[in-house]
Symmetry: C2
DNA sequence: GCGTTGTATAGTTAATCTCTATCACCATTG
DNA sequence: CAATGGTGATAGAGATTAACTATACAACGC
């Protein structure tokens, strides 16, 4: 029993004439004749009474035809689903973003994606890079926004933008008179840091290796966020390093904080998209990339592909 | 897209492993692999993400698999319908009976058929032979009970029983002293007859050709029934001829009527079943025949096949 | 009876399906 | 870092199936 057989069956039930039914199915009369006969043998029931005058459907035949129509209808739905699903910009996209990007990127990203792909709702999760990577590989996420380096088997990454680091200090801090801060000077400062697991923490520590080993003044704030740290800096609890997208857009007339760039070469992080090599909706990823690049993130520099 | 393809698809969605899915489908791994690939090409969507680690279903793939399961379920129903319909004794049987048999046969027939084939309800129609024949050929009836001769193209008949005719007269009639009545004497009697269209009318007239041509005393009662005629005989309106099944089972102690047989050779009618040669439920017809023969119809003689 | 209409059958060709064998890829491991 | 094992894809051969054309066969109607 094949779907073709069922189509022949339904056509014959409608036409009650082998020749006409065959014509409607674009096959020869013997083809349809043989198919119906085969179907009757397979089901071991007589579906039609053939006589010279006409073709009559049996009671059981009528019931089976009705069921066959249902099967064909449902099968047709598969094609419709496929047609609808062919558009990579249709259907939800599961996006992961690291904690130190999400709050600054998403408010810009979401409306832009919605505009570019109205029928692609975003299901967004913020997490650590390691967790995002796991979800991505498991298939719980489709694409993630992380900082490089990021290497995983089966995962491709595409750099999107570079983002310089900034030094954030309370207003009136001694460094406020400097135009730019040297990375080395961080070792002497009471540096507020995110907890372990945040890649940005490691990147900051890399900027100033002495900070890590020196057991200096820096303090790790477990379970915290860049926003919390910024508030702490404002209260004079210390200084910190922020990515430019988080540091530069200070609320107008914020008198409690000062931001300074690093002296060249500025330390920066490279932000990238990552997805499974096998992920088929590359068009959706292109939309995400474009939306990110169209977002007004302070201080960032696009990375050419 | 075939039902086999859909089975492969569902198996792969369940197993998430080409080899295992193939095994479950009793085919080789390349067979399943190629089938899935073909399906993806036909639908122009990626259903699975293949990687070394594992096989992941895409969102659209999951939706299509769910639909495929529905299709397979509905297709399975076809086989179930066929299995249920394979029994000729299941499902209603549309039976037609002529007016002069129905009232005497059906009260016996129905319970016997119900006992022999409980899941074969009878849909019964009484009518003239000509109407029954028409319905039978059109497929509105499956089998009819008629009196021979009955010849129609595409219709087979099977004699079931012979039924002698009787003379019915009011009690006290002059013929009551006779043990048997000669057919020829009917010409002189006030014979009450059924209306045109009833085959029994013609059969009675055939018993006594003079009645037809002679413009004798006989009266045709249009739109009447044997029962009505019997009541009229009881009131002394005339005499009549009845089939034995209608004449013999007189209500106990009916003092108003007398029944007499004809002198040999007794006139009789041959009652038969008829159905389309193409009708597939011959088992159902056998049940009807057996039930008729098991019915205690007064005076009838079974006809060997 | 003979032609017409309609379905079944035969035989052939073409497409499809399925198999075995093998390749290519990747991830793990000594 | 090369070897290994597990996994899916591909190639080519063989078998099955489905389709066609031509024709037979059956049942009616004139």
């Amino acid at each position: 029993m094949t779907l073709t057989d069922l189509r022949y069956l339904v056509a014959l039930a409608r036409e009650r004439h082998f020749g006409h039914a065959a014509e409607r199915c674009n096959v020869s009369q013997p083809t349809l004749s043989v198919a119906i006969k085969k179907l009757e043998e397979e089901l071991a029931v007589t579906l039609f009474e053939r006589s010279a005058a006409d073709v009559k459907i049996t009671d059981i035949g009528a019931r089976i035809v009705a069921q066959a129509e249902k099967v064909l209808l449902e099968a047709g739905q598969i094609k419709e689903l496929a047609t609808a699903g062919r558009d990579p910009l249709s259907g939800p996209l599961k996006v992961g973003v690291i904690y130190t990007i999400g709050p600054y990127l998403l408010p810009h990203l979401i409306p832009r994606v919605h505009e570019a792909a109205p029928s692609m709702p975003l299901l967004i999760q913020e997490n650590y890079t390691a967790r995002l990577a796991e979800s991505l590989k498991r298939g719980d996420l489709d694409v993630i926004v992380v900082a490089l380096p990021f290497e995983e088997p089966g995962i491709v990454t595409q750099a999107v933008y570079d983002e310089p680091f900034r030094v954030l200090m309370p207003a009136g801090h001694a460094w406020e008179k400097e135009k730019a801060i040297a990375a080395s000077s961080l070792a002497e400062a009471p540096l507020l840091l995110l907890g372990a697991g945040n890649c940005f923490r490691d990147q900051v520590l890399e900027v100033c290796p002495m900070c890590r080993s020196g057991e200096g003044l820096q303090r790790t704030l477990e379970g915290s966020s860049l926003e919390t740290i910024r508030h702490m800096v404002a209260t004079g609890a210390g200084i910190t390093v922020l990515p430019s997208s988080a540091a530069d857009p200070l609320p107008d007339g914020n008198a409690l904080l000062s931001v300074r760039p690093f002296v060249a070469p500025e330390p920066f992080r490279r932000v990238a998209l990552a997805w499974r090599v096998t992920y088929p909706r590359s068009g959706a990823i292109d939309v995400i990339r474009s939306a990110i690049l169209a977002s007004p993130l302070a201080g960032v520099r696009p990375v050419n592909r």
